[in-house]
């Protein structure tokens, strides 16, 4: 049995042993432990067969990076575009046959196309919108509300810094760093050569690393 298969089986066992049986449907809350690719693959397989737990895990894992990407790509309508993206994913998921990496690429491809459809392809530079005023009410069961606020502000600041880059470069950074897409996938998505994407992302990260605001993020992250 391969390592991944063992991990897969372990994950399945842990799922069966959950006392309430619906841990995947727990209320959305910040969590520091990101699921592994094996867990995501399992979630994808289950979601394809209509399993709500699987879809919930996929959504909780990929919706935040999707929103962050759209903050740069389609700042005026990121919620709209994200909603349309997930509606299409939900509709076409049964016919999707790829692995979780391909799913990630598929998701962000849909999002990019929907953003283009939305007719708001240009990113605003002077005022990068942040999330709407939050209705969030601190839940005693979640992680510290203070931690959540700190994480939220640092993430928003980071996204804001990326959005200060030229549009194409900012998009490549978000697709590579936040969405986690491979260079080849990003290159195909944005219509550039792989080398161009690699160089652009590295230059952007170096440039941003020199920004005192980026260095300040290290104090709160």
């Amino acid at each position: 049995m391969t390592d991944s298969a063992e991990e897969h089986e372990l994950d399945a066992t842990q799922r069966r042993e959950r006392p309430d049986g619906d841990a995947d449907l727990a209320p959305a809350r910040p969590s520091g432990a990101a699921p592994t690719d094996v867990q995501l693959q399992d979630a994808l397989d289950r979601a394809r067969t209509g399993d709500e737990h699987g879809f919930a895990l996929l959504w909780r894992t990929l919706h935040p990076p999707l929103l962050r990407y759209l903050t740069v790509r389609s700042p005026d309508a990121r919620e709209d575009v994200a909603s349309e993206t997930w509606v299409q994913v939900v509709r076409d998921l049964p016919g999707f046959g790829g692995d979780v990496d391909e799913f990630r690429g598929w998701l962000f491809t849909i999002a990019r196309n929907r953003a283009i459809d939305h007719g708001r392809t240009r990113v605003r530079r002077s005022t990068v919108p942040v999330a709407a005023p939050s209705e969030h009410v601190a839940d005693p069961l979640t992680a510290s509300a203070e931690d959540d606020a700190v994480a939220r502000s640092s993430t928003e600041e980071a996204v804001r810094l990326v959005a200060s880059l030229p549009v194409e470069q900012a998009e490549m950074v978000m697709l590579r760093v936040v969405a986690g897409l491979d260079v080849a996938v990003v290159a195909r998505l944005v219509g550039k050569k792989p080398g161009t994407v690699r160089v652009a992302v590295h230059r952007a990260l170096k440039e941003l690393a020199r920004d005192p605001r980026a260095r300040a993020l290290g104090k709160v992250v």
């Binding site: 509606v87 939900v90 990326v162």
Partner: protein, 548 residues
């Protein structure tokens, strides 16, 4: 989270990258229930799929503007999901259905009595609703899709009031369907596919006509009304189908508008559609400036338009203007020396949403330079002026460009012999000469070169004849000739030229021929300096007269 990337691994501990990859915040994850409901609705056994519009509204959380949003938010996200599975208390379910019926929220199950009245059948103990569990996706737990305290239905589906008959009908009515009273509309709802529309878009809208018991009312003539200048005006009509639904398309918008459906005296909650103008910005460079033309479809005459110069992290307002009657306006800016981006912005008004578009101005680069001379044949002492014009794409002349004059001699390389700066009309003039041999000249600006222009040297003869009794001597000096150049002496004989002597130029450029002295007549000669790579052919006529 992401991280297969090899070449990004050095950045894994970078504060910015860590922040970008940070876990989802509560705000970002706030809409989970709605998306799960959409997923559930998409399964084969689920009720009508949920539209993107509903998710969009749920995703926004605030400021949705539609009554559907208000209801959804008021109920809580989990309750919205519960509404789709009919697990809300009847009054609430009915209210949600009244608003969200068009987007898939079913009406509550009728009570035993209602069902009895409608179907004319005797209810049985096993005919209770139980709908929630049967409508849910198979395999899902019976619990609410969320365990959030605020969103969890507190009753199991089998405990819904309507599912527990408390009394047995005392009579056993067996009314036939023809005896059922015609349903009377008591509510009408309206929902559009979007709250935003472009200048050419027609927003599809669906409505629902229902009776007091939430049953659909078919065959009702409904009118779609648009609020214009404070008054409601009918713009479309339709008839409700068997499900009580109507589908109409709102007309294209001239401004942000509200729509509603009416049935008799009943009106639906208005559905507001915001007009989103389409901004189109193009640049038309000229020699010294660039016109930035903005057209705003969906804008209105007199609307303010702002032009901003884009800079990293900060856009600078450059100019303001008003839309003309043709919904266009033009800004004029200096043609840039480097790439500059401008953003045109149409602020939001009561008539439309805001819109923006960007255009990038690139410095004009020369694509051509011409070169011409008034005369390409020069004498030994003559100069000439080479003139030309520097142009960019589209024939736009470029002033203030440094232009070099290049010169090449036969077998040599191009070398710079002068320069000048193009004037306001893009023109330049540079003098060259005198030349000592044939050359070619061209103009160059940057990497753009003109076509070479040849300049030919035409030598000049100075001749004389000295006659004595015995002989005559024809002498000549060729200015511009070179030592060794061949010189022919040709005599006109019978109207034809016959070469009678040949010599070469001396280092001083002179030549000397001795000819017979004619008797009683004049001999006519031509002194011919033959063409060489250094100069053209030059001929001088000479006449030798008899002595005396």
């Amino acid at each position: 989270m992401p991280g297969h990337d090899d070449d990004l691994s050095p950045w894994n501990d970078d504060p910015l990258v860590r922040a970008l990859r940070g876990p989802g915040t509560s705000d970002e994850l706030a809409g989970q229930d709605e998306f799960l409901a959409a997923f559930r609705a998409a399964q084969p056994t689920a009720p009508t799929p949920i539209s993107a519009g509903r998710l969009r509204r749920a995703g926004r959380r605030l400021g949705g503007g539609g009554s559907a949003v208000v209801v959804v938010l008021a109920l809580g996200a989990g309750a919205a999901a519960a509404a789709y599975t009919q697990s809300l208390p009847d009054p609430v379910q009915r209210a949600v259905h009244g608003v969200l019926g068009p987007v898939g929220v079913p009406a509550p199950e009728p009570t035993r009595e209602e069902a009895s009245r409608e179907r004319g059948a005797t209810p049985s103990a096993t005919s209770g609703p139980g709908a929630p569990s049967t409508d849910s996706s198979p395999g899902l737990p019976v619990e609410s899709p969320s365990d959030s305290p605020s969103s969890m239905p507190t009753r199991a589906p089998s405990e819904t009031p309507s599912a527990t008959p408390t009394e047995t009908p005392t009579d056993s009515p067996t009314p036939t369907p023809t005896e059922a009273p015609a349903p009377v509309p008591s509510a009408v709802s309206l929902a559009g596919s979007s709250h935003r529309a472009g200048p050419d878009d027609q927003v599809p809208m669906v409505g629902n006509v229902s009776a007091s018991d939430t049953s659909p009312v078919p065959g009702q003539e409904v009118a779609l009304q648009q609020r214009v200048a404070g008054a409601w005006t009918s713009v479309a009509s339709a008839t409700s189908d068997e499900a009580g639904s109507v589908s109409v398309a709102a007309p294209t918008l001239a401004r942000t508008s509200s729509f509603r459906l009416t049935v008799g005296d009943l009106t639906s909650t208005p559905w507001r559609v915001v007009l989103v103008p389409t901004l189109d910005v193009v640049s038309r460079p000229d020699s010294g400036s660039t016109a930035i033309a903005v057209s705003a479809r969906g804008g209105r005459q007199g609307d303010r338009v702002e032009l901003l110069r884009r800079r990293p992290g900060d856009d600078v307002l450059v100019a303001r203007a008003r839309l003309a009657a043709d919904l266009t306006t033009t800004f004029r800016v200096a043609s840039p020396n480097r790439r500059v981006a401008y953003v045109a912005r149409l602020p939001r008004t009561r008539a439309h949403a805001r819109a923006r578009d960007a255009v990038v101005l690139r410095p004009l680069t020369p694509v051509a330079v011409s070169a011409a001379v008034p005369d390409s044949i020069l004498g030994p002492q003559e100069s000439v002026t080479v003139s030309g014009t520097v142009t960019a794409d589209g024939g736009i002349v470029l002033p203030d460009r440094k232009v070099w004059l290049l010169l090449r001699e036969a077998g040599g390389d191009w070398r710079r012999v002068g320069s000048a700066t193009s004037d306001a009309s893009g023109s330049v003039a540079i003098a060259v000469g005198p030349i000592e041999r044939n050359v070619a000249v061209r103009l160059r600006v940057g990497r753009v070169r003109s076509t070479p222009v040849p300049l030919r040297l035409q030598p000049e003869w100075t001749t004389s004849v000295a006659t004595s009794d015995a002989s005559a001597v024809v002498s000549g000096t060729a200015l511009g000739g070179n030592a060794g150049d061949i010189v022919l002496l040709r005599q006109v004989v019978g109207g034809r030229l016959v070469t009678v002597r040949q010599a070469t130029l001396t280092a001083a450029g002179t030549v000397r021929f001795e000819v017979p002295v004619p008797e009683g007549r004049r001999d006519r000669y031509r002194v011919v300096l033959e063409r060489t790579p250094q100069h053209l052919r030059t001929i001088a006529p000479v006449v030798v007269r008899p002595v005396g």
